[in-house]
């Protein structure tokens, strides 16, 4: 999977490395901004209240 991405990135090794870094950062951004906020209420780590459910 990562090998495939690496082979399909354009440019020499340095350009590929830079693009890989940007892709990784984009992935982290999407996770922090959208995926984790969505997943968090579904996981049993953050409830602080007592309730009847």
């Amino acid at each position: 999977m990562y090998g495939w991405i690496w082979r399909h990135l354009p440019g020499n090794t340095w350009v590929k490395a830079l693009l890989s870094l940007l892709l990784a950062l984009a992935a982290v951004y999407v996770l922090f901004q959208y995926v984790f906020p969505w997943a968090e209420p579904l996981l049993p780590f953050g409830d602080a209240t007592v309730d009847e459910q």
Binding site: M1, Y2, G3, R7, V28, L31, F32, F36, A39, E40, P41, P44, F45, G46, D47, A48, T49, V50, D51, E52, Q53
Partner: protein, 254 residues
């Protein structure tokens, strides 16, 4: 120099190819195993990032939101105290005051209405509106001022709740009064369905008579929300706020 051109066992000989152009030849099994391995590593990294998100990033966001809203509440109070004619109400988002708990060595904790994630995730403590409605101290009535806040992440305002001991002060600051409570009972672990702890007379605390109580609830053990940690206090004194908002003796110098 002998270069292995073609490895029929399916090993990855493509990693150090001199020309860097030809695709490595791999058996289907090796490809699948390699792909699964990458998926597992990715899952590990994502879970690690989730920990970073939960315990660090959400705190940053929540503290920023809470600071902003706290400033707004204080500004609103100043306006109300200075001029009788209020020049346009600020949106204080139901912020009603601040909690000061020296034993938790926190700063002020903004108190807002409700215990929805929306409220608590902004780094505030929320007073219960459901399943048992909290009695606000400002109402002057007997009842239970029940509050919830996060133990971890989202500001983690009750993170150090285990540092509170019996006899410690818990002070609620409203626009014009300091409400000084004294902790008299701690329940280190109870079921998350134990709504009885919120009752107007929380009998689990040992008190059977109506009075002015405060209840802090959060999750325990740390980093999970398997159970709930409860701290009960009782009102001992109400002090008016002076011009300089001098805090009561209990929280001075904290």
């Amino acid at each position: 120099m002998a270069v292995v051109e073609h490895d029929r066992r399916g090993g990855d000989t493509g990693a150090h190819r001199p020309d860097g152009r030809r695709r490595p030849t791999r058996g289907p099994v090796a490809s699948l195993v390699s792909f699964l391995g990458e998926l597992l590593m990715t899952a590990g990294v994502v879970l690690g990032l989730f920990v970073v998100y939960s315990l660090w990033w959400t705190n940053l966001l929540a503290d920023r939101a809470a600071d902003r809203e706290s400033d707004r509440v204080r500004e609103q109070w100043e306006q109300e105290i200075e001029g009788a004619g209020v020049p346009g109400k600020l949106d204080t988002k139901d912020g009603i005051g601040f909690l000061h708990v020296p034993a938790m060595d926190d700063d002020q904790i903004l108190v807002k209405k409700g215990t929805d994630p929306k409220v608590l995730d902004d780094g505030a403590a929320g007073y219960y509106t459901d399943p048992v409605r909290a009695t606000l101290p400002t109402s002057g009535k007997n009842g239970n001022f029940s509050l919830a806040a996060h133990r971890d992440g989202h500001g983690a305002k009750f993170h150090n709740i285990h540092k509170i001991h019996e006899g410690d002060p818990v002070v609620f600051e409203s626009k014009d009064r300091w409400y000084v409570y004294k902790v008299f009972e701690i329940l280190p672990s109870t079921s998350k369905f134990d709504v009885g702890v919120l009752e107007k007379v929380p009998e689990k605390s040992g008190r059977k008579k109506p009075g002015k109580y405060i209840t802090l609830t959060t999750c325990t053990p740390m980093y999970t929300s398997e159970h709930r940690y409860i701290v009960w206090g009782e009102l001992v004194r109400v002090e008016p706020v002076d011009d300089r908002r001098t805090p009561p003796a209990e929280i001075r110098g904290s």
